[in-house]
Amino acid sequence: MSDSVCLAVNGLEKRFGGVVALTDYDIEIRSGELVGLIGPNGAGKTTVFNLLSGVLKPTRGTIFFKGQDITRFRPDQNAVLGIARTFQNIRLFNALSVKDNIKAALHPHMGCGLWKTVLNVPGYRRSERRIEDKSREFLDLLGLLEVENEPAENLPYGLQRRVEIGRALAVNPSLLLLDEPAAGLNPNETEDLIQTIRTLHQRYNLTIFLVEHDMRVIMTICSRIQVLDMGHILAEGDPVSIRKNSRVIAAYLGQPESSAHA
């Protein structure tokens, strides 16, 4: 099972008007892999995530998830299939409690429809209990039980990141897309995050695709790294080879004036 293809993307392109945000983008991720996506600002990393989660529709190319063509699926269809994501700028349900943030993500696959809810049938009460139990499992796992009744907007940044990961897990995904999970975290929080991602990866048998600027995170947890620059793939490989890749270094640090300096 671990060798089966989870995500297969071919020739993906996204244009906004005349601007080409992403072109000739391919990736294949096998189930259980932990892959990183890096690149300078504006390289198109978030565009990749928006295309994979269905927030944007590609101009060209195909996306297959576990053998199914999801190129033109909506985000909610993708979520139900098992693709969950977090956002670069945290997008929680601010006025809702931490627990309700998690529960809202459990509704699409565990909740009841309107009629069952209003008529208060036994099936509805059972599903509410299951949702309650499940939400506590994630709150416990991410160390959020103490703040479960706080409105999400009142939490410090680091905890909000955790809530967002918890909410993504509640979708019951097999592919988790993390968009800069370490952004804005202090070194301790980053260390915790690395542990959390590793734990989740093993416990829930997840395939994880991760955009990150923090090289320590990327280099320690990813088995494979893809580098984007100016909307196309610059390099792909294991952490060691990426670290040594001269084109990658150039893209990050700027092109040397001439090779004579070297």
């Binding site: 809202a104 509704h107 009841c112 429809g113 309107l114 209003v118």
Partner: protein
Amino acid sequence: MKRIPLHQIWYFVFVLSGAVFVFIARSTFNEYILSIINFVGIYIILAVSLNITNGFTGLFSLGHPGFMAIGGYMTSVLTFPVAKKAMFLELPGWLSHLALPFLPALLIGGVCASLTAFVIGVPVLRLRGHYLAVATLGFLIIVQVLITNWESVTRGPLGMNGLPALTHLWWVYAWVVITLYVSWKIKFSSYGRSMLAIREDPLAAQCVGTRLFRTRVVSLALGAFFAGIAGGLWAHLVTAITPASFSLVLAFHIVVMVVVGGSGSISGAFVAAVLFSTITELFRPLEESLDAYGIGEILMALILILILIYRPTGIFGTREPGFLTAKST
């Protein structure tokens, strides 16, 4: 034996004292006071049901009186005595021989309003924010124009007079309880949480699997159902129905109730509805004696402005008072 949770005892106390109140009121108060209490109840239904659409799912709709009009006219046509129908209206054969009891007529009125919401929801709910507000306003105007011009069924601008006076306190407050129950049940359920999630962040809600468009349409239709019921109750309270009753001013009143109470708060919509409808009704005799109309409206607008400045989330925010909600374990 299982202990009954405290908040459920409170629900019971409220419903029971409501029933006692209605019982006593009907035997002690005069017609004028009773009609005010009836109007207050109808406003509660309107505010609490708009709160489902506007407060839970965050759809800023001004179309509520439009749904009310559809429900009101539908119910009126259905309950209108057969003899009068022949005199005043030109209805298709089967309808002209039909006079239904109040409850089925009300329900049909509500369902029609709800179906209309499904139909207009498909185009209108693709819009957001201000655009949605303007589009629902357009819907309200279209309904008014249609009613005014469809004279064979609605008697146009004259409206329908001499409707049977079927509405009384039991009818109104039974529907108040039903409206409160349904919206309370939804708010504290999984379904309601997905509505609130849409209000908070539609894109994030969609990314966790919420069916955005469907949930929005359902919440509009649900609000419309109770608006339709309120329209039917209204028509059979004043025993007349005219297109002018379902105006933008009414939309403004209901929206103010939801905003002042706190978008998403059922208790807030309830309290604000009681407060504002009592104010407008109490000021009416004063306005007439001073020959200065509109004092009630001015006061309402003033309260709205003050609330928006000093407490922009409304009296209750999006929450309910603690003693009414289940304690989490």
